[in-house]
Amino acid sequence: MRLIILIAFSLLISSCLKLDSNLYNNDNTIKEYQLDNYKGVQDFILDDSYNIPSNLITVFTLQSQAEGESTTTNIKALYIGDASKINSDTVILYCHGNKWHMDFYWQRAKLLAHTNGKNKYGVLMMDYRGYGLSDGKPTEKGMYADVDACLKWLKGKGLSNERLIIYGFSLGSAPATELTATPRSLTPTKLILEAPFGSAAIMVQDASQLNMPADYFTDLKIDNAEEIKKVNQAFLWLHGTNDNFLNYKTHGQVVYNNYTGIYKEKYLVDGADHGEVPAKMGFKNYLEVLGNFIRKN
């Protein structure tokens, strides 16, 4: 009898814990963005030759509103380049990974600002809601809306589709792929994915070794493996062969194989772990690969 009562109690409290919010590794405890002065852990730190003049760095606030939301959420974004020239410049929209905030990814954004030459292209990066100084709590739908808020801003500054490149790293591969497959405010002309997720389903099945439904653990989809099928734009995939977080065979390779658009290119980086691709490739080589891909017609 006691066992039955215990089971009934357990059933009553079932569903009271949800995993989704735990999947985000955001840090919203910072008081300001430190950029070059940030002393926390970073994947790599560039030398002074990669410094960006302060007049070409703009941190600003955007309003983001996801479908079904009645209010907007303030999110923080950072533009590297001359914002007054967006109507004629090419821009790389960088969707960062799951870790903390933009300070952690500042070195990566700076590096991208050297593709095909110093400040040749503008680079826009944002903190998704709940990350860094952005308000709100992270959600998958909110993340897509936040990236679209950046696209709206770029469009307002005169950016056109053919001058927009979208780059997604790790978690950022989800909004990058989603907004290339199903464009909202602008349609990117090229898609670059570094160490992308395949899907939440792959994550769960890699872990369990069984054909186990992802929704046992999460309602997140992050379904790049399916979304990529809708992408027709040119696609570059970079992944470390020693990625200890997102296995390149089960995640990235599935995304790459499922792509059937006009052009695809892959770059597997021998021995690189998650987050090590630019450093293991060598910054010069990394920028050359990106630059060649972006220049390619």
Binding site: L6, N25, L210, N211
Partner: protein
Amino acid sequence: MNSLIKFLIIILFAYFFQNCAPSRFVKPLAKKQQAASFSFGGPIIKFAGAPIPIPFTTLAYGYGITDNITGFGSLHTTSLLFGNLQSDIGATIKLFEKENKFGISASPAIQVAYNVRNQTGFRIWPSADLNTYFHLKAKPSYLYAGVNSWFEFSKYKAHEQPQERHAIPNLHLGYMIVKQKWQHQFELSYLGIGIPNKPGVAEYVGISDKGALGFYYSLIRKF
């Protein structure tokens, strides 16, 4: 709790989902005897430098159908807290016994899981345990060792990728302290024999980067 740690636990929860409980009723109950158990334990990871087992919990009930066959069912309470109804239903069958010395038993079972929260994802996996037990000095307590596996019969997994692994074998070694009404079960497992534990997001305590050691404890009440 740090988000990253919570994330790791989720992944661990998935990774050794099939190993969130020790062997059940290694030695069958007497005919019409009943027993209820509470178990906790799981794979061991290094957490802040120290090895700790993930504390999965389960409740189980067993009934002696005959002196040689015990039927059992369980509820995985940690899974339930996260909105998944998971249960294993099976029987422990005595295959051979030399009384008060040693014996061999098998426990075929089905593992049932269902997402209560979304009302989706009903799945069944067969599993089987094969155990041998030894009484030390003719006392009721016994040492046991065995092998266990879940079986995955799907040909494909997500995104039409081939399901390459169809059996996930584990080894275990345990000791059952048998009192008149209560039993204490301690079990050490080697989970996922031969399965690389890297790449992985957690630092498992395995053997040569393969599998993971697990530790479990059960408190069993007979009535």
